[in-house]
Homo-oligomer: 155 residues x 2
DNA sequence: CAGTATCCAGCTAGATACTG
DNA sequence: CAGTATCTAGCTGGATACTG
């Protein structure tokens, strides 16, 4: 019955492994935040608007530094994250809503108005991504220096 | 001269955007750690061996909880991270070496012996991934609950 | 032992066109 | 305005075979 046991064993190991990874919480989280657009949406909805200059900062309600998360409409997000396609934006927003990281509110005007806002959970995740950004700012130039050095040495 | 300015503008925006992302330190970091195998290698080299049971814990020098990072040989890592292919393991290790996150030491025995060890930078990154794991452990069941709820409600 | 080299399937992101 | 639907090109990861 047993065909080449070598290959079979390897395949089995891989299958078990994938099963493990599929339920590993860390892995699931990393899969979420490694998505290009997730972090950017988190930033768009979580960062206070004054932080990003070159945007016409609205004078109204600009002085609560970190109170409630802002709500943004689909088109606002789309404009802020200039490079995203409609497909990816919708897809990502829906995934984040599904995971309870943000809320989607439809107001039945004509045409419809849809607004998005981070939940506490989403806000908490945003805090985590900020700490990631912190590491990047502190150490990424070291990494880049090493990389450049390595590339030169190997010539 | 201007062909359909609509499409051209979009494309330009996207190009600029990609350029921005390419140099963004946070993005670069996320691209690194979102790699399936990077985190696992970090764990393999950074976690103390006693933490993972079902492994024959070597009695020697097992009582420094977080002193020097352990060194492991290629085949050890390969065995520990059962699901990884040679290609991916080598590729990932080389990338991490290039970035100064670990060192690769070749001992010219016959056959050759190659050992890997985290640098301080790598250790620091490992700390970050542990905080990510922390978030996952604290909040991922919330996320999963939301997801399940959402899927039921939408039926 | 510790790789290198090559080929290929699967998935995903983006382009494009259409709509309540 | 805020999407949905469809098609496809490109990249990545895995299988397989070979080597100093």
């Amino acid at each position: 019955m047993a065909t080449t046991t070598k290959a079979a064993a390897r395949e089995q190991a891989r299958t078990e492994y994938n099963a493990f990874l599929a339920v590993c919480p860390s892995r699931q989280l990393l899969d979420r935040i490694s998505d290009k657009w997730v972090v950017l949406i988190l930033c768009a909805l979580g960062d206070d608007p004054a932080a990003r200059s070159s945007e016409p900062t609205p004078p109204t309600e600009a002085d609560q530094p970190r109170a409630a998360p802002r709500t943004m409409r689909y088109s606002e997000i789309s404009r802020l994250i200039a490079g995203v396609s409609q497909k990816m934006l919708t897809q990502t927003l829906r995934a984040l809503e599904r995971d309870g990281l943000l809320t989607r509110t439809v107001t039945p005007t004509v045409p419809v108005t849809v607004s998005y806002q981070l939940t506490n959970l989403g806000l908490s995740l945003h805090t985590l991504t900020r700490s990631i950004r912190g590491w990047a700012q502190d150490h990424m130039d070291d990494v880049l220096a090493h990389r450049a050095q390595h590339d030169v040495t190997a010539s």
